[in-house]
C-alpha cells in the first residue's frame, strides 16, 4: 500500500528582501524546496546567492514572504524542532563545554541528573571526554564545532540546520568532521539541511544537492546522490561515480557564479 508521507520541510515561494545602505536588496526570489524526513540535503551556490538566508528563514530567525512548513504546519519563529549550527560555532564563551551543551536542557527544565546523563553521553559521542570544564577559548576549531553540534543535538531536534559548518576549519579537520557528521547522521537519521560552498563536501555527505542561482536566489537544479556509503573515503573519492556527480554539480554552480559575475559587471 502506498503510504504518502508528508515532506518534513516544505518551502514554497519564499522571498526575502532586506535593507542595506544602497537600498533594498532582494536576497531570495520565490524559492521552492522540499525536504523529506531523514534526508540529507545540501544547498550549494555562488557566494552571496542567499543560501544562508534561506537557512535562517527555515530556522525561523528571519521573517520572509511565502510559506515554510514543518510537518505540515507553518513555522512561527525559532523552535526546538530545528537545531542550528553556525560556521563560527557561536559557542557561549562564558560557559564551559559542559554548560554549553547543557544550555538547551536547562531551558527545557530537566532535572540535574537527567541533564548530566544526556551531557555525558553527548560528550562521549563527540569524543571530548575530559574537556567538560574547558572554555571555548581553550579549544581548537574542530573541537569547538563538535561542542556546537553536541549542544544542538542535546535538544534532540528532528531537523538539523547547518550553515557552512566546516567552513572555518582547515582541510584535514574538515574531512575528519565530515566523517563525524556522517556517522552521527547515519546513527540518528535526522533530517539535515546543510548550506555549503564546498561541492565535494556536498556530494560526500548528502543524498540530494540543490543548486541555488546567483542573487536573487532560487533553486535552479537538483541532483540526487546515491553512493554506497559503506565504502571508505579513499575509495569513494576516486570513484568514477563520485567524480561524475561532483563535476556535474560543480559545473552547475560555476554557471551560476559566472552569471552573477556578468551581472555585476553590467551594474
Amino acid at each position: 500500500m502506498l503510504d504518502l508521507v508528508r515532506p518534513k520541510i516544505e518551502i514554497r515561494g519564499v522571498s526575502k528582501t532586506y535593507a542595506s545602505e544602497h537600498g533594498p536588496v532582494l536576497a531570495l526570489r520565490g524559492t521552492d524546496l522540499t525536504v523529506n524526513e531523514g534526508e540529507f540535503v545540501s544547498i550549494v551556490g555562488p557566494s552571496g546567492c542567499g543560501k544562508s538566508t534561506l537557512l535562517y528563514v527555515v530556522g525561523g530567525f528571519l521573517a520572509a514572504d511565502g510559506e515554510v512548513a514543518v510537518d505540515g504546519a507553518p513555522i512561527k519563529g525559532p523552535g526546538t524542532d530545528r537545531g542550528i549550527v553556525f560556521q563560527e560555532y557561536a559557542l557561549f564563551p562564558w560557559l564551559t563545554v559542559h554548560d554549553n551543551i547543557a544550555f538547551g536542557l536547562e531551558r527545557q527544565g530537566l532535572a540535574a541528573s537527567e541533564r548530566e546523563k544526556i551531557v555525558s553521553r553527548l560528550v562521549g559521542v563527540i569524543g571530548l571526554a575530559g574537556f567538560e570544564k574547558r572554555y571555548p577559548r581553550e579549544l581548537s576549531g574542530g573541537m569547538k564545532q563538535r561542542v556546537a553540534i553536541a549542544r544542538t543535538l542535546a535538544r534532540d531536534p528532528a531537523i538539523l540546520l547547518l550553515d557552512e559548518p566546516f567552513g572555518a576549519l582547515d582541510a584535514q579537520t574538515r574531512e575528519i568532521m565530515q566523517d563525524e557528521l556522517l556517522r552521527i547522521w547515519l546513527e540518528t537519521r535526522k533530517t539535515v539541511l546543510m548550506v555549503t560552498h564546498d561541492v565535494t563536501e556536498a556530494v560526500y555527505l548528502s543524498n540530494r544537492i540543490c543548486v541555488m542561482s546567483a542573487r536573487p536566489g532560487q533553486i535552479i537544479e537538483e541532483f540526487t546522490v546515491s553512493l554506497d556509503r559503506g565504502r571508505s573515503r579513499e575509495e569513494l573519492v576516486v570513484s568514477e561515480q563520485f567524480n561524475s556527480i561532483r563535476n556535474r554539480v560543480w559545473l552547475s554552480v560555476r554557471r551560476q557564479a559566472l552569471a552573477a559575475g556578468e551581472r555585476n559587471d553590467e551594474s
Binding site: T80, A90, F92, R155
Partner: protein, 256 residues
C-alpha cells in the same frame, strides 16, 4: 589603557629601584634647598606628616569619606548607566530620547556643574555623590549600549533554537555577553569617579581628601599637601590593582 603592562622579567624590581631612586633624589634636592622648604619639603618630613595624620585619625576620616562618596557615586552610575544602555539598545524611543543627552553630556566637562549640584544638594556628601554619578554615567551608557548592540545574532539565534524565551535570551545571553565590555568601561570610569570626588571636595569643601588638600595649600602646609597627594596616588594604584585581579579571575573566558 594598560598596554603599558609590558611585563619583562624583573619589572617589579625595576619599579622598586625607580621609586627608591626618585625618593632619594627628592630627599637630597630638598635638603640642599634646590627650592625653599615651603615648595619642596624633604621626603622624610612628608613621610612624618603622613604618619602623624594616620595616627591622629584625620587621614582615615578623610580617606574613608572620599572613598565612600566615590563608591556610592560609581555604584549609582554603573547601575543607572547599564540599565539605560540596555534600554536604549532594546527600545528605539528610549534611544531617541537619551541619545542627545549623552551626545551633549559625554564631551562636556562635568566639573563645570559643581555649582549646580551644590545649589541643589548642599556641600555635604550628597552633592558629591550625585556629581560623581553624573560624571561617570555617560561612558557606562555608551559602553553598555555598544556592547548590547554588538551581541552576535548567532548567539541569540542559537539560544532561541535551544528553547530560550525572550527573557532568557536577555538574562543568559545578552547580559553575560556584555559583561566584559561593561567591566572594562567600569575600570576606566573608576579613576574618573575618584578625580571628580577629590575635585569637588577641593572646590566646595565639605570634608574629605580634597578639602583637606586645598586647606593645606591655602595655609602653606606643604608636607600635608605632598602627603595627601601621595595617598591619592596610592589609592589609585591599589584600586587599579584590585580591578585587575578581579578581571583576571572572573573574566578569563573573554578573549583578549
Amino acid at each position: 589603557m594598560n598596554q603599558l603592562e609590558v611585563r619583562t622579567d624583573g619589572f617589579a624590581w625595576r619599579s622598586a629601584v625607580s621609586i627608591l631612586l626618585f625618593i632619594a633624589l627628592w630627599e637630597i634636592a630638598a635638603r640642599i634647598h634646590v627650592a625653599p622648604a615651603i615648595l619642596l619639603p624633604p621626603f622624610s618630613i612628608v613621610a612624618a606628616q603622613l604618619w602623624h595624620s594616620t595616627l591622629d585619625g584625620t587621614l582615615a576620616a578623610d580617606l574613608s569619606l572620599s572613598l565612600a562618596r566615590a563608591f556610592c557615586g560609581l555604584l549609582l552610575a554603573t547601575a543607572g548607566g547599564v540599565v539605560l544602555g540596555l534600554l536604549m539598545a532594546r527600545n528605539r524611543t528610549i534611544e531617541w530620547l537619551v541619545d542627545p543627552l549623552v551626545a551633549l553630556g559625554f564631551p562636556s566637562p562635568k566639573i563645570a556643574f559643581i555649582p549646580i549640584f551644590i545649589l541643589w544638594f548642599g556641600i555635604e556628601s550628597l552633592s558629591k555623590i550625585l556629581l560623581v554619578t553624573f560624571a561617570c554615567i555617560f561612558p557606562v551608557i555608551i559602553g553598555t549600549y555598544g556592547a548590547a548592540r554588538a551581541v552576535s545574532r548567532q548567539f541569540i539565534w542559537s539560544a532561541l533554537s535551544l528553547g530560550s524565551n525572550r527573557f532568557s535570551v536577555f538574562l543568559h545571553v545578552i547580559l553575560p555577553a556584555c559583561f566584559p565590555r561593561i567591566f572594562t568601561t567600569f575600570r576606566i570610569v573608576v579613576p574618573v569617579g575618584l578625580i571628580t570626588t577629590f575635585t569637588a571636595e577641593m572646590v566646595a569643601g565639605g570634608g574629605g581628601m580634597g578639602a583637606t588638600l586645598i586647606y593645606s595649600q591655602r595655609f602653606f602646609e606643604s608636607p600635608t599637601v605632598f602627603a595627601y597627594i601621595v595617598v591619592m596616588l596610592a589609592v589609585g594604584l591599589v584600586v587599579d590593582a584590585v580591578m585587575r585581579r578581579f578581571q583576571s579571575r572572573f573574566l578569563r573566558w573573554a578573549e583578549g
